[in-house]
């Protein structure tokens, strides 16, 4: 069902959100694991997620957005702001983590959150936005294609 989900609101993450966000990061990593065994999560995924998101919230070169329903964190989008060395435009916003709780999916919440993030990035001078996700995640492939993204770099891996 397309359309705007009235239940959720978006805002920048705060330190008080760290516990809830760490939970969402861990969920996202477990979802990624479903697509590829090379994305198998570590045993201490919760601890790693907590310290990772805790520093991201404080990092000026990160945008961490929160989707909230009735005071409860139900979605996360984290993007890194980078300078491209060889290509232009130079300032890139790379979406690294994007997760919405199951019952808020398919109601337009994801699209709206992406647009919020892009607006946020534009305001700080970002000119190109990119997204990282498992190659086998067809849902993400379709989602970004619908939003006008196209594949630009492939990362191939093998265990050695």
């Amino acid at each position: 069902m397309a359309g705007i989900d009235n239940r959720i609101k978006f805002r920048d993450a705060r330190e008080g959100d760290v516990e809830a966000l760490a939970e969402l990061v861990a969920r996202l990593k477990r979802l990624n694991e479903e697509f590829d065994s090379m994305l198998k999560v570590r045993d201490d995924i919760k601890d790693v997620s907590r310290s990772y998101i805790s520093s991201a919230v404080k990092d000026k070169n990160c945008i961490v957005l929160v989707a909230e329903n009735d005071g409860k964190v139900v979605g996360l989008l984290k993007a890194d702001i980078r300078e491209r060395r060889f290509s232009q435009p130079m300032t890139e916003g790379r979406i690294i983590e994007f997760y919405i709780m199951p019952e808020y999916r398919k109601h337009g919440g994801g699209t709206e959150m992406l647009h919020h993030a892009i607006d946020r990035m534009k305001r700080i001078g970002v000119k190109i936005v990119s997204a990282e996700f498992p190659s086998q995640n067809k849902i993400s492939v379709e989602f970004y294609a619908k939003q006008g993204f196209r594949p630009i770099t492939n990362i191939h891996a093998k265990l050695i």
């Binding site: 969920r27 477990r30 979802l31 479903e34 709780m101 199951p102 019952e103």
Partner: protein, 444 residues
């Protein structure tokens, strides 16, 4: 494996002996007289060429000029046979033959067992699709979950004849019939009845889906599996989204209170428990039933032993108890649904079996029970009350006509009489063969 009782052991022995004696349970029989070999030139070449040419021009005539109108395939890959599990297509054959026999005897439907050596979902999809020209319908049987969900949904969309998965829809239809009677007996309203499902296999998932069509509120449903109450915050949600979207969907649509916890929590204040979770007894502490509302309804559907013995459920306050067994009252049995449902769908030339047609079948069964001495010990008719079959066939056919998916329309009375004639004919044919000793009595 549960300990087998003497009665079951005896039935095992007889089934082995008789199967050897008869060499299978079904046969293909001509449907036309052969007065002399000259008749072959009508039934076969050259006469038959005219029939072929007519069908070539209009494929729909294959439902009038050949036995396709009354012939279905029972398709199984043998991956989830009875309580036996993945026994493979050869070993699934005796079960499918038995199913074909029931189709013929109770519904007058010619059913051909086809156990296939194809196991991936796309492969089975292609196999069934390619068989469409020969059959008037498909009964998918004993195919493992979640493959069976994918197959039913995708085949329903692409094939132009009825497709049915008995383990899902047959059980859902029979359960719904029992539920409709039970809530009537206990003075409940469908929309306000709180239902807990224990087990999230094919049958319970299908029942939870069909309840929404039958006037129940899915928000009042709570599904419980080995990980506890199904809710959209569970850790396994993303895994379900990718591998079992049907269960994932129910996690979002059911449990509007977003309750978490286990079966004991779910049953507090519930009206109905539908358990299809694996053989009992003592599958869960029977005291949990005490937490349910007054006049609780419990369906303990595991075979061969129900999750909780019926008398124990009653001791804990259950007013109505149903099981999957014929030796206890209130057997929730697919055989009360599928022969009549196909009879109705074939008689009207339905292009599908819709959820609404299943609800029509269940409602008719509940109505029949109500008018024929419904009680706490008799919420659904048994297979012996065979008059219910033409009634159900007529209700299903009329629903298909109303939904504009039927090729033929008649009054409910005509559909009923037609179905009755076909089913009676099928029973009479068998008894004539037995009387003339062409079908022998089993060896002593």
């Amino acid at each position: 494996m549960p300990k087998k009782d003497d009665k079951t052991e005896r039935l095992y022995r007889l089934a082995m002996r008789y199967s050897k004696f008869y060499g299978g349970k079904i046969a293909v029989m001509p449907n036309v007289p052969v007065r002399s070999l000259d008749d072959f030139s009508i039934w076969y070449t050259p006469g038959v060429a005219a029939v072929s040419r007519a069908i070539e021009k209009d494929h729909n005539l294959s439902f009038e000029l050949t036995s396709r109108w009354n012939t279905i395939a029972i398709v199984s890959d043998g991956t989830r046979v009875l309580g036996l599990g993945n026994v493979g297509p050869e070993a699934a054959m005796p079960v499918m033959e038995g199913k074909a026999m029931i189709f013929k005897y109770l519904g007058g439907v010619n059913a051909v067992p086809l156990t296939v050596n194809v196991h991936d979902q796309q492969g089975i999809f292609n196999t069934v699709s390619s068989l469409e020209p020969a059959f008037g319908g498909f009964n998918l049987e004993d195919i493992e979950s979640p493959k069976c969900f994918y197959l039913l949904d995708s085949l329903r969309k692409s094939v132009k004849v009825p497709v049915w998965h008995d383990d899902q829809q047959g059980t859902a239809g029979a359960t719904l019939a029992g539920l409709l009677s039970s809530i009537r007996l206990t003075g409940r309203k469908a929309s306000q009845t709180k239902i807990v499902f224990l087990g999230t296999g094919a049958a319970n998932v299908a029942t939870a889906r069909i309840l929404a069509v039958a006037g129940f509120d899915q928000g009042n449903i709570i599904m419980v599996d080995s990980k506890g109450i199904l809710n959209p915050e569970r850790d396994d949600m993303d895994e379900l989204m990718l591998h079992n979207p049907w269960k994932y969907d129910l996690a979002i649509k059911t449990n509007s209170e977003r309750m978490k916890g286990g079966l004991e929590d779910a049953l507090k204040g519930a009206d109905v428990l539908v358990a299809a979770s694996g053989p009992g007894p003592d599958k869960f502490p029977k005291e949990y039933i005490k937490g349910m509302n007054k006049d609780a309804i419990t369906f303990m559907l595991a075979n061969p032993v129900p999750e909780i013995w019926p008398w124990e459920a009653k001791d804990m306050g259950a007013r109505i108890v149903a099981t999957g067994r014929s030796d206890f009252p209130n057997q929730v049995n697919n055989s009360i649904i599928f022969p009549a449902l196909f009879r109705g769908a074939l008689d009207c030339g339905a292009s599908a079996i819709t959820d609404e047609m299943i609800v029509a079948a269940s409602s008719e069964i509940a109505r029949y029970a109500y008018e024929n001495g419904m009680s706490e010990e008799h919420i659904i008719p048994t297979m012996k009350e065979w008059e219910v079959y033409p009634n159900v066939a007529a209700a299903v056919a009329r629903k298909a006509v109303g939904q504009r998916i039927a090729k033929r329309s008649m009054s409910a009375k005509k559909f009923h009489d037609n179905a009755k004639r076909i089913i009676e004919g099928s029973r009479m044919m068998l008894s004539a063969l037995i009387k003339s000793r062409l079908i022998k009595m089993p060896p002593q």
